[in-house]
Amino acid sequence: MKFANSLSQVKKRKRRDRRFKAYSYSAIALAGAFLVFFFYNIISNGWTAFQQAELKVEVTYSEEAMEMGNWALSEEMSYLVSRGYTRLIPVRMEEDKTLLGTSRQEWVLADSEVDQFLKGKPNRLSKAEKTLITEMKSHGQARLAFNTGFFGNGDSKLPEMAGIWSAAVGSMYVLIITFLFSFPIGVMTAIYLEEFAPNNKFMPIIEVNINNLAAIPSILFGLLGLAIFINFFGVPRSSALAGGLTLSLMTLPIIIISTRAAIRAVPSSVREGALALGATPWQTVLTNILPLSLPGILTGTIIGLAQAIGETAPLLIVGMMAYIPDAPGDFTSAATVLPAQIYTWSSDSLRAFTERTSAGIIVLLAVMLSMNGLAIYLRNKRETKW
């Protein structure tokens, strides 16, 4: 082989080497770029929902308004103000009798179309209405204010009234149930497998089984919840109890696996030291091993719960996507959860709901990211390095 030929071959190999390295870095860059685009997209879609249009209108608390809230407003305004607000006028007058016969200027919730118009998004207002709103805005009679209703209200058919409160409460209930069931059982299982399990043929089965459970599609847990918890045990459908039990079975393997890792990380000298001082195996676990592995256990539990809070599919199967305007009062009444609320809003045809969906997603992601951040903090600060 001629020298020049092999030199060109080396060059070719070198080029190929560089190209390969570039590919590998660009793969990470691609994933990173997607992440940036994704967050930009969700946030730019959703941040406007944290503001809500309000109009300053003359509200006349007349006799007629007692019958129908619309009569308290001038005719052209009654189309622009949220029906959710006008519907409540008679109720408020009933509660506060002194309102009757008075009239005053108030900031009231605007209709979602007005809201979309003020945010510069597509809307269905007529040309005359648009000029009216623009004029009101220049006189300071229309504004975008912080949207307290989004955090304080439950679901509603009117986009401007819809909020995440009932879903957030439902999520909290589900999470409480999930924690109450999966944490003790998960930690107990891990302790048994690491410290007490005899070395027989049955134990590998449990181990393979736990690893398998972690990889079973979540929707199958929903089928289990429907068939066993709801149809067999008679847990009420759509309740936080049914959802929480289903999710606790999904969270269980995560907690078991991380607890086992945390227990295994405790050096055996600790164990032997406690046993040498006369502690029984259980006393060793309770007074030495558990306290030392607690940060690791908590980290795993928080990560498991963060995953549970974003889970949707099994909860749809157990019926937790019902229309729930009020926060559930207990564990057995019908409830919905944040991701299910996001799902129901996303399938709504009204454009104003798209914005709310993104805002709901921002809230959900914020909760999940802060839970994961807490887990990472715990792992870094509290975990003992052996």
């Binding site: 793969a27 048994y192 449990i206 459970l213 990889a215 599609p217 979540s218 199958l220 089928l223 974003g310």
Partner: protein, 419 residues
């Protein structure tokens, strides 16, 4: 009846916790007191006083709890319905009796500590059985309903039929019962959709995930790795419902526009957008598993290749990757199992229409979409459509279980080879 049962058990539980826990506390107190007074008289005990206290607690609780469990089993299986008040009375009486027995049995020769520890270990063992029961529960619940489904629908029609139209089956059931539901539950289009979307997802996830893993394991500096790895993991932590929304609202319109630009027609619910988004979701799964495997390939192999004059990339391609192949295969299989079972992305972005096509720009539906659709409608629980969800669930279960087990075996083989 079943609804009533739950409320009943709920109140019963309340009574148990208000009634039994005080009893347990009394038992602990009495038993430890007894040991104190005997110790005062100069007797020596086998265990510490606390052990005897817990021994009495065990005696107080187990008869009452066993009775409640028995009653619950009886009511659930429908053999006999025990009224709540009677159960509470019986449980409290049993607890009182157990308390008396437990405290009476306390004597210096009793090996209370060994007994209590034995009970604790048994409880721990019982807890570890829950995960087994979960698997059994999933398998049984799916199989039982699936059997009912296959009594209505011929299993071969289900596997080989190309027409999925459950609504017609409802019409049949309402009309002449003699009419069979033949051909309406043909699952081929659903599996075709599932595999199409899974294939697209893997086409995105495998190259990106594998190259990311190579980058992090072979090229990246420790600091870069420290930042890049958790950042990639964020992708796995985003809830699937969020990905679904993103696929439906952002990616689908982009694909429709892109298709129009090159003169093609795309549906808004095309198979491409959930596939791509799902692939992005699976990237961290593929990359972190492959990364683990690549880093555990012994350094000597790398160095050997470099010593023979190979470039870095050549050593990776010709030595490291072939050695890590089992791990990469197992990561791929787990990715496929994840993609096949993924639900929310396809529910929100893939559409409902069973469609047997090779064109990823058309809408297709998947197994998981039909499961959700069948179970969130308002059909009766024993209607063929609802049951079909369990038939599909059975196939999904078998498929993903097989994938998981194969990937587990493959990776175990790898570990045996190098570790």
């Amino acid at each position: 009846m079943k609804q009533g049962l739950l409320v009943d058990t709920g109140t019963v539980f309340l009574y148990l916790f208000c009634g039994l826990l005080p009893f347990a506390a009394i038992a602990y107190f009495l038993a430890t007191r007894k040991t104190f007074s005997l110790k005062f008289k100069g007797q020596t005990f086998h265990s510490t006083s606390g052990s005897y206290g817990w021994y009495a607690v065990v005696w107080t609780l187990w008869p009452a709890l066993a009775a409640s469990l028995l009653a619950a089993v009886l009511s659930l299986t429908g053999v006999a319905h025990v009224p709540g008040s009677a159960l509470v009375a019986a449980a409290l009486a049993l607890a009182a009796g157990g308390l008396a027995v437990g405290v009476m049995k306390v004597n210096p020769g009793l090996r209370a500590r060994n007994i209590v520890e034995g009970v604790i270990v048994k409880l721990l063992f019982a807890a570890s059985l829950i995960s087994i029961f979960t698997t059994i529960g999933i398998v049984l619940s799916v199989i039982f309903e699936a059997i009912q489904f296959f009594e209505i629908v011929n299993i071969w029609d289900f596997i080989f039929g190309t027409n999925w139209n459950p609504d017609e089956a409802v019409v049949h059931a309402a009309g002449a019962a003699s009419e069979s539901a033949e051909g309406l539950f043909g699952s081929v289009p659903l599996f075709a959709g599932t595999f199409m979307i899974t294939a697209i997802a893997m086409l995105v996830a495998v190259p990106v995930g594998l190259f990311s893993a190579i980058c992090m394991a072979e090229y990246a500096s420790p600091t870069f790795r420290k930042v890049a790895k958790p950042t990639l993991e964020i992708l796995a932590g985003i809830p699937t419902v969020v990905y679904g929304f993103f696929a439906a609202i952002t990616v689908s319109p982009m694909i429709v526009q892109a298709a129009e630009a090159i003169g093609l027609q795309a549906d808004y619910t095309n198979a491409l957008s959930p596939g791509i988004v799902m692939g992005i979701m699976i990237i961290p799964l593929v990359s972190s598993l492959s990364d683990d495997i690549i880093t555990s390939v012994p350094n000597a192999m790398r160095e050997g290749a470099l010593a023979l004059g190979a470039y870095r990339s050549e050593s990776i391609k010709n030595v490291v990757l072939p050695a890590a192949l089992p791990g990469i295969v197992s990561a791929f299989l787990l990715g496929v199992s994840r993609a096949v079972g993924e639900t929310m992305i396809v529910v929100m972005a893939a559409g409902l229409r069973p469609n047997l096509t090779m064109n990823p720009l058309e809408g297709m539906t998947t197994v998981t979409v039909r499961i959700v659709d069948a179970l969130t409608g308002d059909q009766a629980f024993d209607s063929p459509e609802t049951l079909s969800a369990f038939g599909l669930g059975l196939v999904l279960l078998v498929f993903t279980l097989a994938l998981n087990i194969v990937s587990l075996l493959v990776i175990r083989r790898f570990r045996q080879q190098y570790e």
